[in-house]
């Protein structure tokens, strides 16, 4: 199985100055320092890093931009950041501190024209649409505010709406699987993949290499891994070595 364009992405959720990880985006525990962890993953050969400000809407967020600024000094792969970016000013700050891309969910849901405004300044390739999906009954519902608040849209409808608004790619998080290491939600991923054409990055539930192989077969473009690398069930270099010889 050749890696081709497939991207291995480290997913770093943080709260205040620490990288944290919870289960289903709740019960956050400190797992390390963002600078140290991202440098470690960079050295192991990560393709990209996603920074998720997990409590942005609740607390002061000045520290976030400082962290990004610091991290970017020693890391030369793309950095995507998001979590609570609500307007042009927030996004401008994110880019100024060194982010290459930003992802947006809640802000775009509340202000439907935010995405189109952003792509006119930054180009669609720098704007990522985020979908947080949670199963409610038989349907996957799109959530906002870091998985805390349901919307009236199905996850696949929200993904399609973001695609139509012009985002460059979709970043999908399965809230149900986040931090569980139970494998990714393949049913959810298939649903979204069938609905949109733009690149799709998936996250939530990775435990082992086999999980990565399974999602890669679904024609997704990248996988965001959090717990499994933070707690060293997986190592980026190993993943790359193993995938390239399959």
């Amino acid at each position: 199985m050749k890696l081709n364009n497939f991207r291995l992405i480290a997913r770093l959720d943080f709260k205040n100055e620490n990288v944290v990880k919870g289960i289903q985006l709740e019960g956050l525990r400190i797992v390390g320092n963002p600078k140290k962890l991202s440098e470690k993953y960079y050295k192991e050969g990560i393709d990209e890093i996603f920074f998720i400000d997990s409590v942005a809407s609740l607390y002061d967020r000045k520290y976030v931009f400082k962290i990004i600024e610091d991290v970017c000094k020693n890391i030369f792969v793309p950095i995507c950041m998001g979590g609570g970016l609500k307007n042009l000013k927030d996004v401008e700050k994110a880019f100024k501190s060194g982010a290459d891309k930003v992802f947006i969910n809640t802000g775009a849901f509340k202000k439907p024209d935010l995405i189109s405004k952003l792509i006119r300044i930054y180009g669609s390739q720098c704007i990522v649409g985020s979908v947080e999906a949670k199963k409610v009954g038989k349907e996957f519902i799109a959530f906002i505010n870091n998985g805390r608040e349901p919307t009236n849209l199905k996850a696949e409808e929200w993904a399609l709406r973001l695609e139509k608004a012009g985002v460059g790619e979709i970043f999908l998080t399965s809230v149900d699987r986040d931090g569980t290491k139970k494998g990714l939600d393949l049913e959810l991923i298939k649903k979204i993949r069938n609905k949109i054409k733009i690149p799709l990055v998936v996250s939530g539930g990775t435990k082992e290499i086999n999980d990565i192989i399974k999602v890669k077969k679904l024609k997704v473009d990248g996988i965001g891994i959090g717990s499994a690398i933070h707690y060293e069930n997986l190592n980026i270099k190993d993943i790359k070595d193993k995938l390239s010889i399959l």
């Binding site: 364009n5 180009g123 720098c126």
Partner: protein, 202 residues
């Protein structure tokens, strides 16, 4: 000193961070005086074409870039910086570029719309100076528009191409003292850092 040109949008810091890491002196600016005092010029880029071109014209940076090129000093355009060295682009609406290279930037019409991720650069005919000492020619791409290989002649230029979704497009070009990459060397790990180092030695 390398001047990293501020063209009004996107991520300016990343190129500077990479140069700092390599211990190469650089300044981010749009001031003519500082640009003129530099030995090398990097036009970085993220962002939308028209937004950048308007900024360039407003600040009369087009004159500075042309001047720099005419003085035979090395210039490197990256991603959007690569695109604005071209003739024109039809992103959102038709816009003239700087026209240093007479190629058209157009929507690549990829199935996935955007090309994101690491991909291979294939040298065409000749070895490229920018790729010296680089074994692994995989670089990070993040773009929707580009210069298609077909319909254009690249005869006297040193170029490299990249394939994605069955489309071939220009990913690197070298001509005299003008260099440009569609990919982001500052975001391509060690091979990208080596490319920037190569450029700083020209």
């Amino acid at each position: 000193m390398i001047c990293v040109l501020n063209i009004g949008s996107g991520n300016l810091r990343s190129v500077k961070n990479a140069l700092d890491y390599l211990n190469i002196k650089s300044k981010i600016t749009d001031k003519a005086k500082i640009i003129r005092s530099a030995d090398h010029l990097i036009i970085p880029g993220d962002g939308a074409y028209s937004h950048a071109m308007n900024y360039i014209k407003k600040k009369r940076l087009n004159e500075e870039i042309t001047r720099f090129i005419n003085l035979n000093k090395p210039v490197l355009g990256i991603c959007l910086g690569f695109q604005i060295l071209m003739q024109s682009s039809n992103e959102f609406s038709y816009n003239n570029g700087l026209g240093i290279f007479k190629y058209k930037v157009e929507n690549l019409r990829l199935k996935s719309r955007t090309h994101i991720g690491f991909n291979e650069v294939h040298e065409f005919h000749r070895k490229l100076k920018l790729l010296k000492k680089i074994q692994n020619k995989r670089f990070y791409f993040l773009h929707t528009f580009g210069v298609r290989k077909k319909n254009s002649s690249f005869l006297e230029k040193n170029v490299g191409f990249t394939n994605f979704d069955n489309k071939k497009f220009l990913s690197i070009i070298e001509y005299k003292n003008i260099f440009a990459t569609q990919f982001h060397p500052e975001k391509s790990g060690n091979q990208g850092l080596q490319l920037l180092k190569n450029f700083s030695n020209f």
